[in-house]
Symmetry: C2
Subunit: 868 residues, 2 copies
């Protein structure tokens, strides 16, 4: 016959399917010898049997009664006893923690006789009366389904104005319990059960039923949890921390979860119940004080803590109760921790011989490293800082500075030594110099992958994007959010990790990379199989990336260089050229700058590959759009205003994302690609002559037709021959669905593929990243998207195309090198996915390189464990 | 030993690989007993051997000499003879007609002796001298590679001012020939060959070499013709139509290629050579006159024409020469014809028992039907009409009317009975009523699938789009192209089949659908397997579509209805609503209109399915964008101007194509879908009560996530239950790459798929159809795109996704109904592709329905022949 009930001492941690998470934990703690109040778990199979038939399966109740006898023996108390009654808690506990299921019922087993018994045993009549009052209220609400407000009303009326719960006397509490029962009789049309066994039976059935409650079902559907798992029921002896000054209750971590320091960390309250700690009426005391106040208990708890940590080989987050000097462990689970703590704990535990290096690597969430790599706000100061507005946490880190609205002004003030924050409705490539000059960027529009967000992340600068309540008035030099106005020059502070913006200054603390961090990253590098490069457009970015361990540049965008200083003039001249000769003349002016840019980047990346993307953005991004600027440009080039205006108009596009950009520019104006290739190869030659190991990789963007790549490739190779340079690769971005579909034929002309998953996400899902704010947040909220598809790669759609692209490309060219250079290259879940489908490397913002390295190590370890 | 040379009588039509197209044709004609001047063909294999080794293969020359003897015997003349010399023409002739290969060399075989012989035989010394002059010129240019201008200069100098070629005397012609030889000696560094056999050998080698000439290779690469085919060489006896008044030359069709009437159609010139007909100095006479002038020859030619037509079972396009009363056939090939002629000829030939019905169907190019279905310009008047500008032939047909620049004015003038043409920089959905009112539409911007083009095609109205030289000045009410200004109210005429726009009025002729057309379409319907529906948004469109044989509506866009009359006010109110209650209130105002629209459409489509797409376009398309209109709207709704402006601004998108549209609207505002579903089902119920057979199919647009469809489907089904209607389908558009990739899971919630290949093309290829003008024309010109991907489906990319979508959808739901409702549904090549991958039906503009029906029949017949 099926066994439906397991005493805690009969189970263990491996039985989560049968006993649920909580039941397995209590069993394992019992097995480890911790002082757990005795109890038992009813299995998920019993729940499933109940769900099918609507009644307890045969034998279940007998097993419950047998287990209860055992618990009575272990507790030395009897259920429903008139002198020293056993009271029980009844809790649900499924395989996965799941909101919407039944809450806890406490003090089960009380009736008239047992109340007397409890009063006698505790020597406290009021305590016993209050315990019953609480029990009736919880049971009524949770098991019998009476609206909780009905009980609150009774309680409020009884207290009258100005009195607390604690002011109620035993008599009053008894009266209240009586009134509660009246409510139950009226609302639930049933008498409150006096028989403790009836109480227990009803509570167990209620837990079973809650598995098929509306909220639980919804939650399971959204989280793709099978309906057939069922929930377990945990029945456990009650213990009380509120039986005088030798009783207490508390929570503690086995190590400091903020710093990782190996000391007990937590707090406790004397003469209190768990809910009193939560309620915050009394201030709990640091756990260290328990060493003075209850030295024996403290010693015992510290020992148990060490034992559980060794047992579970990880930091434990524990709940305990002391009942009249006796310690009881109520729960233990893996302790959550900050990124810094995770790193320290993992490295320490390896030193202590508790875990091995691979486990240490797996113990640190890659995403949690973000906290270590960026400045943070002073946590106390932020609590009292006046809130201005909130946007998306677009690029992590905190910054304080004076508000400026124009990139030129940002540059000017920064040169004068001021710290400024650039505030714009949204940013465009022409604002780049202002972003370079600013401490941080704040925009009113745009999503997590808007221009501001992408560029800021690339530079490692904090950014809050899409603060939709914010409006910027460029003309009158102020911005406003919910009626609060900020003038140019006013200080603000923003936290790019949370999206919050505050008025005034708040101190920030700079991050320091610890020795433990370096140790852990070293271990990660040893196990990971997928390479990690960085997206870097400037020598400074390249240096940062290298410092963070990047193994090359996976994406060097050439267009940002077009905006620096006077170059933009020549670029505009090139765009406005009417003949190929004029265009070549303008390009010739740009070429020396481009060459110098590449020389400086190659120097930084000595010995590592540098993937350079040829010109990609739509040309109109380089042109002025306001009449005065257009007029100035016309004067400068000696052409008419109308000519400039006509060209600006002519290049205007309804959907620039799907427009005249990428290799389409190089196909229509081959001389642009030619100039860029010449600048790259001349720079390479010059660097090589100076003894630098240069490994340029030329990458053609937005290829859809194999023939596009063939033509651009031929052009690049011709220039290489002309310059006299032969150590380079030519490859392409795969960023259109068509490119992934025809990857086999594209591979004929490519030495590498780099999947541009930003654009591939835009086209595959049909979402403009600039406009995603209109519905993507709502989609995430209502779980239509599990995550923002611009942050975590959409494996089913975009990922499927990447998989196809890799497969089809290699079917024609075995061993074809493949990388990913979208924003996803820095997202742990995405990196792991790319590793599993055979991508050779990912490329991400310099500041995300450590995250990608660690995620890659996780992927390798995950794969190794799957292979076993 | 390989046989390299075939006499005409040794070959036949099946030997095109070996003898080339021309050689096989001459052989077949000879075989059919037509009087072909004797000759022979040197095989493509000989050419390939020559290409490999650079010399004639062993035995070739001997075979040529033997064949030549045979020709001498047949012609009764001898090569190089001093009394009656045989002259030859030498022509290239590959498997496929191919520009860039060697032209014809005529009169080969002339030298001093033969000139005398020719003069003697013809009795015309000047004729002989001129024949030699022409021969030296052609041979020098074509075989020896001398620049043709050099000969023209000599000729011009010799003529002096004011004299024609025909004024030159025999002596002068001889002198000129001598000077030509000097030019050849200087430029080609060789003496002109006197020996006829040397001439022949050189000419044959020149044909072989031209196979690997630059232009021929380029042409083959672009057209994917294999380099290994080689060209044949045709050597044929010369005959002369310029030997007096019993000689003549002409061209004729066996039936009228414009109307299809079964009478000889062509023209001839007495005492002339073929090139004189082309030169246009003398006006040729209709072939009918030959019956009077040369009755015997005419009878003979008419008989041969009938014989060849029966032999080839198709209309023949023939060239002939009469030499001194004797008829020679020089060429016959399948005659090109207009759409109208194609239909008549095909149906007639079935009646005559010449071909069967399936052949008749295959004889008519689906695209050629376009001409039959639209008004055309008077062909004579158009020749002299003043040209204004040119754009893309966006929607076929011709129209004349007064220019108006504003849709409201168009409506006003049209109501007053005027015929107007709406001229806009580009059109947007809010211009719809103006397009309805206008005879035709002209835009300065936008491609073949711009809003103007798509809507105009849907309505069967002529449209010229993207006339890039045109600028429209709305403020001052004029437009301008290349300095020519047209004021509002001026007449223009446009031809949407060619893209031309003329100043002033030109008469147009209305099309009439013939009985033959109906007969042919009936046959097509019998054989085709794929269904044909129409895209129709109005009762009028629905009626037109049904008239053209549509089997249902495959796409009924609901948004156009939103613009009509006052409805737009309620729509704007709905968009500006701040609460769901306000929005429902506004929707309630729209619902009766929507319901009435559907009632009218259902009536038209009694007994046929109607696929209705829920709201698709971005909401900002419904809002005004100019301050005065925004102010008016604010007043009307009793809200502030700033509120309106903020909402308009808030809905602005960088890439609206990838923005907040499609089912995203219905997900964020479910009440919109709900209203539309209610309107549809209430209309269905009302119609059914009136005895109409209603088959509504609700189609959810822009689905990417299966869950999107599931939620919208549930909503629609709930409304159906509420209304009490149960005969309907719910399906989705597959128009995002992701949707095609996850089609299996989407199919779980869909009763049909309709592939929206317009949008799928935009996202798969990354081209905005509104902006494609920036590079797509250049891409087509340089053969990066074989066709405009918005007109002919990109089979490798977009087609692959459609194939995947069909397969994956049916893998989960076998027999899932699938359709295509993009513009490609009306393109013959695309229809054939969709038929082969198992799509159940296509849906296209009403005016393209017959084209799609015929294309579908072609697809079925093509498949049947492949299956054999």
């Amino acid at each position: 016959m099926t066994k439906y009930v397991y005493l805690f001492r009969e189970g263990d941690a491996s039985m989560r399917d049968l006993l649920g998470g909580k039941g397995a934990g209590l069993a394992e703690m019992t097995r480890a010898g911790a002082p757990v109040p005795p109890g038992f778990t009813i299995t998920t199979e019993a729940c499933n049997a109940y769900s099918e038939t609507g009644r307890f399966p045969d034998g279940l109740w007998d097993e419950v009664l047998a287990a209860l006898s055992d618990v009575e023996r272990a507790a030395g108390k009897r259920f429903g006893d008139a002198t020293n009654p056993l009271l029980l808690s009844v809790r649900s506990g499924a395989r996965f923690s799941m909101p919407g299921m039944m809450d806890t019922v406490l003090n089960l087993g009380l009736n008239a006789a047992a109340i007397r018994g409890l009063a006698e045993a505790s020597g406290d009549e009021r305590f016993a009366a209050d315990a019953y009052r609480r029990f009736v209220q919880l049971f009524g609400k949770i098991v019998l389904g009476v609206d909780g407000n009905r009980f609150e009303q009774v309680l409020e009326t009884a207290k009258g104005p100005g009195r607390q719960d604690t002011d109620l006397a035993a008599d009053e509490l008894r009266q209240i319990a009586g009134q509660y029962k009246e409510v139950i009789r009226t609302d639930a049309n049933t008498d409150f059960p006096d028989d403790p066994y009836d109480q227990l039976k009803a509570a167990i059935a209620a837990v079973f039923r809650s598995w098929n409650g509306r909220r639980a079902i919804d939650y399971r559907r959204l989280n793709k949890i099978s309906d057939s798992l069922g929930t377990a029921v945990n029945v456990q002896t009650m213990v009380f921390g509120n039986l005088g000054n030798t009783s207490a209750t508390g929570v503690a971590f086995s190590r400091n979860p903020a710093t990782g320091e190996a000391v007990l960390y937590g707090e406790y309250l004397v003469n209190a119940q768990g809910e009193d700690v939560v309620a915050g009426i009394r201030t709990p005391r640091p756990i260290a004080e328990m060493a003075r106040e209850m030295p024996d208990v403290y010693e015992q708890f510290a020992a148990i803590s060490r034992q559980l940590e060794l047992h579970y080989r990880d930091v434990q987050d524990m709940e305990f109760t002391v009942e009249r000097g006796r310690l009881y462990m109520l729960q233990t689970r893996t302790g959550k921790r900050t990124g810094a703590a995770a790193v320290k704990i993992a490295v320490d535990m390896v030193a202590e011989g508790v875990i091995d290096r691979n486990t240490a690597i797996q113990r640190v969430e890659p995403a949690s490293l973000d906290q270590l790599l960026h400045p943070m706000l002073d946590p106390k100061a932020r609590l009292t800082a006046p809130f201005l507005t909130r946007g998306l946490p677009a690029s992590p880190g905190a910054a304080t500075g004076k508000v400026v609205f124009h990139p030129d002004l940002a540059e000017e003030r920064a040169k004068a030594g001021e710290e400024v924050i650039l505030v714009r409705t949204e940013t465009a490539p022409e604002d780049f110099h202002g972003m370079v000059a600013a401490q941080a960027v704040l925009t009113a529009r745009g999503g997590m992958t808007s221009h501001a967000a992408v560029v800021a992340r690339g530079m490692g600068k904090p950014c809050v994007a899409g603060a939709s309540a914010l409006t910027v008035n460029y003309k009158e030099h102020f911005c406003e959010s919910d009626g609060q106005r900020v003038l140019e020059g006013d200080y603000i502070t923003l936290d790019g990790s949370t999206g919050e913006v505050f008025l005034g200054r708040i101190d920030t603390s700079e991050p320091e990379l610890s020795a433990d961090f370096r140790t852990l990253m070293g271990w990660a590098d040893e196990v990971r199989k997928i390479g990690v490069r960085a997206n870097a457009d400037t020598p400074k970015d390249a240096r940062t990336a290298r410092g963070f361990g990047a193994e090359g540049i996976g994406l060097c965008r050439t267009e940002h260089m077009f905006f620096e200083g006077d170059r933009i003039d020549a670029v505009r001249e090139m765009i406005l050229a009417e003949t190929i000769a004029e265009r070549r003349l303008a390009l010739a002016k740009i070429e020396p700058y481009q060459k110098e840019d590449f020389v400086r980047i190659f120097r930084e990346m000595d010995g590592l590959p540098v993937t350079i993307r040829t010109l990609d953005p739509p040309l109109h991004e380089f042109l002025p759009h306001e009449a005065p600027e257009m007029r100035a440009l016309a004067d400068q080039l000696g052409i008419s205003f109308d000519q400039v205006k006509a060209r600006v108009e002519g290049l205007r596009e309804a959907n620039p994302m799907l427009g005249f950009r990428g290799c389409r520019l190089g196909i229509v104006y081959p001389e642009i690609t030619e100039m860029q290739a010449r600048a790259i190869f001349s720079a390479a030659k010059e660097c090589a002559a100076a003894g630098i190991d240069v490994q340029p990789e030329i990458m053609i963007p937005l290829v859809g037709m194999p023939e596009e790549l063939r033509r651009q490739e031929q052009l690049v190779r011709q220039v290489a021959r002309d310059v006299g340079w032969d150590r380079y690769l030519v490859g392409t971005m795969i960023e259109l669905p068509r490119a992934a579909l025809v990857a086999a034929r594209i591979a004929e002309h490519a030495e590498f593929f780099s999947f541009g998953t930003n654009d591939l996400t835009q086209t595959t899902l049909g979402i403009s990243r600039d406009d995603s704010g209109h519905f993507v947040p709502k989609y995430i909220e209502s779980r239509l998207y599990a995550d923002d598809p611009f942050q975590v790669v959409d494996q089913e759609g975009v990922g499927e195309l990447v998989r196809m692209g890799v497969e089809r490309g290699r079917s024609r060219k075995p061993g074809l090198k493949t990388g990913v250079c979208g924003e996803h290259g820095g997202d742990p879940a995405s990196v792991m996915f790319f590793a599993t489908i055979g991508v050779d490397y990912v490329s991400c913002s310099p500041y995300r390189v450590p995250i990608a390295r660690l995620a890659a190590a996780h992927a390798a370890l995950g794969e190794a464990s799957r292979d076993k």
